[in-house]
Amino acid sequence: MVPLSWYLVLSAVLFCLGVSAFLLKRNIITIFMSIELMLNAVNLSFVAFANQFHNLDGQVFVFFVMVVAAAEAAVGLAIIIAVFRTRETLNVDRVNLLKL
């Protein structure tokens, strides 16, 4: 017998931790992982509301979020590899000029 607000608060806390990791970290891969953390927090909200309203649409939407996250992770990591090949660094503060 757990109130629904506990699940939503957990989702909110995870989302805010994801946002703070996005703002505070300097390594591009860690920033990407904080985006994945934010998407997971949103998935938890979807599943919690699917349970609340006894409607499976929330769980179907979780699928689509997962698919989009996977596609985005693949393309994003490919971009990171391409950037790393030329700049030799993964620190976002150093990738601040268009030309090397």
Binding site: T30, M33, L37, A50, V92
Partner: protein
């Protein structure tokens, strides 16, 4: 009672993993703590009666997407200890901003709790089986988004292969 104990344990593991992702300096440690967060989230989905989503979370998210992250970190191997010489604006405005955001959302959730019914284990068994009902929805009501996501994955594969290729 058992439901509350289980939720608190897995919730603490989730939040602990997320804080570890924030605090650790080497990205491989952050990646592994994110895997722990995803595993604990999968168990929380089981508490919410979403068994198929829990299994897919482990197989796809923790077992494939995060493996991709770990591969890239291992291959590039330049993401050693990063120095937080970043913008101070991010720390001094973003930090309190995030705390205010979190506080606002938590306050709103607890204030509106009376409009929701509590969650009990086993209160949402889809007929006849979670997988059957999900498949029904996915291939009838959500068929168009399903086909579009397959096109999206194809585009992502092509994009990733082209971007990560060595110029020969």
């Amino acid at each position: 009672m058992l439901h509350q104990v289980l939720f608190i344990i897995f919730g603490l593991i989730c939040v602990g993993g997320a804080i570890n992702l924030l605090v650790q300096r080497h990205p491989i440690n952050s990646a592994l703590s994110l895997v722990v967060v995803m595993g604990a989230l999968s168990l929380i989905y089981l508490l919410l009666g979403a068994e198929f989503v829990a299994a897919v979370q482990v197989i796809v998210y923790a077992g494939a997407v995060m493996v991709l992250f770990v591969f890239v970190i291992m291959l590039l191997n330049a993401g050693a200890e990063e120095r937080s010489r970043g913008s101070h604006v991010a720390l001094w405005i973003g930090g309190p901003g995030v705390v205010v955001l979190a506080g606002m959302i938590v306050y709103l959730m607890f204030r509106n709790d009376k409009h929701f019914t509590p969650v009990t284990i086993g209160s949402f068994p889809a007929q006849p089986d979670n997988t059957h009902s999900l498949a029904d929805l996915l291939f009838k009501k959500f068929l168009l988004p399903f086909e579009i996501t397959s096109v999206l994955i194809l585009i992502a594969i092509m994009g990733a292969v082209v971007l990560a290729r060595r110029e020969s």
